[in-house]
Amino acid sequence: MKHLLGIEGLGRDDIEHLLDLTDSFVEVSRRRVPKVPALQGRTVTWLFYEDSTRTRLSFEQAAKRLSADTLSFSVSSSAVNKGESLRDTVETIEAMGVDAIVVRHRSAGVPHQITKWVSGSVINAGDGWHEHPTQALLDCYTMREHLGGIDGLRIAVVGDVKHSRVARSDAWAFTELGAEVTLVAPPTLLPPSLDGWPVAVSHDLDAVLPKVDVVYLLRMQRERMTEALVPSLREYTARYGLTRSRVDLLGDKAIVMHPGPMNRGIEIAADVADLPRSVVTDQVRNGVAVRMAVLFELLGSGGER
């Protein structure tokens, strides 16, 4: 694997290989000194055109635990604000000698475009509404950890699927690994066409909850109201929010997931977020190990762990 641009197109074997690799990095993370020299001498850089705290910190932590050198590129204080083009920025970074560029951009497809201009690896850390592959991998890993496996799981992905890169990556990953996925949202928050998506659709969260092993909540953004996609956040919460009373519809072992950052009181009630069945902090913790696995897979051939 040279780049990680998306989950779509990866096979089951590819995904499982990365999850298996993650196991060994989880083990590393538990050590007293959670650091290995696997990527010594390799340089990883972040190119984040969109604000992100958790994903960026998670990648940084992953790279450091692998002993990679890291270069941080802050878009807001860079030449980009002086009008430098994407290509010039990327080629400038490349010229400094980097082995991987981790890119986040608000436009779909930017990681694909960048691959044409660099010789190193490109890792998609979120592109527009398109994909966020490492999020899907850490979600899969977390499910495997809590529920033993993904094959045969019934998963509801609830909320603004239309504008969600997480939902797209998750839908491909979960179904590729054998889960049954139901997208739950008002029609305005679903993609205009689901042709070719191996998923079911529902507009009725209450009917779906009793049947699922995982309820995966997406972040609801306030600006969606101004686009006439939902009448109000209040109405959204009333129909699609995971309230305390709705949690009682879930089976005993069902877990609650969220990619963060959560809007408590909107897509997830505050007291639900803090229930034991909510595994949000496990997702964040596993994110580091998953990203170590991805960096190692792309850069680490020949390195020792």
Binding site: S85, A108, G109, V110, H112, S193, L194, D195
Partner: protein, 427 residues
Amino acid sequence: MKSVLIRGGRVVDAGGERAADVAVEDGRIAAVVADGSEPSADVVLDAGGCVVAPGLVDLHAHLRQPGREEAETVETGARAAALGGFTCVLAMPNTDPPVDSAGVAREVLELGRDACCEVHTSAAITVGRQGAQLTPMAELAALGVRFFTDDGNGVQDGRLMRRALEYARGLGVTLAQHCEDAVLAAGGAMHEGAWSSRLGLPGQPAEAEELMVMRDIALARLTGGRVHFQHLSTRRSVDLVAAAKAEGLPVSCEATPHHFTLTDESCASYDPAFKVNPPLRPADDVAAVRAGLAGGVIDCIATDHAPHPQEDKEQPFDQAPPGMLGLETALALALTHLGLPIVDLLALLSWRPAALLGVGDRHGGPIEAGRPANLSVIDPAATWTVDPSALASRSRNTPYAGMTLTGRVRHTLLAGEPVVVDGEAQR
């Protein structure tokens, strides 16, 4: 002026085809001789294996001058046109400043005077293409402007479009409409459908085009004004125009090579070379455009040649400007992909657009003694691979890079002068 003999070709015009040599003198066709003639002219052009056709006419070319000379100039665009077999192009008015006054129209016409093909200009329907106030259409029509369009923008305001059509009817000019409901299409970077959903790109629905086609057909009925629908791209748009024509309304339409060759699946590369307005559509729409071209509903092929500098097309897909080059590939794409007899292709590329533009006295044939010698000599069997760096356009944004096409222009004559000889521009 040198005399020219086009020798050994197959002459094709609306009247049919025959093997003949074409002698040109003083800018006009002097003789069309069936039997091998003596090569007594100053210049003898070999047309062996070629079709000798009336020059092609493009109703939709963005020549970018004034204002965007880094993308194209009238000179470079006209050269690209001649290499593509065109002897007449209609420049679009979305320049900077736009062609919304007699002064800018005169500038474009002046720039075209010594170009490789005859350059006409359209003018905007509204001042600044802002959709609010009519341009001085009578003054512009007096300069020879026959087509008015806010191309790039559709005229959104139905009342304004009605008035424009009524006013245009009084001048005998045509309103060419870029059909796109701006609100419904807002933010859409590609066709809304299965591919946009998958790629996470904002889409614009086919209905954004179709609703405006529908409205303007109604307004043509109301006003009697003549509407030309630009770059139709959906099955329902074609059906709507077919019904309007059956009703006898004064409407015509065009389709572009990219809308009969490429689908929205191309956008999966995220290469902004495939970003265009109206967007590339699914295969069923492409099939409908082809059927419309074959069946006569669509009057002509127009290129929508839209040059953009490389740096603009290296932006993220949703931010890059829409548009692709077309002049140098249109004929070859039609020959390669439409599977129509050459005479039908030439109807779409030459005499029908010539008649719509009102230049049928000079362009579009017939090829007979006394007519102005605007001719294109086409080798329909020549295969070539599209190399962006070899194009004459100042820009490189072709979606066909690396594609092998069949059919190429060997010579082009503009008013009797060979402006392209053996595939090389002469000026």
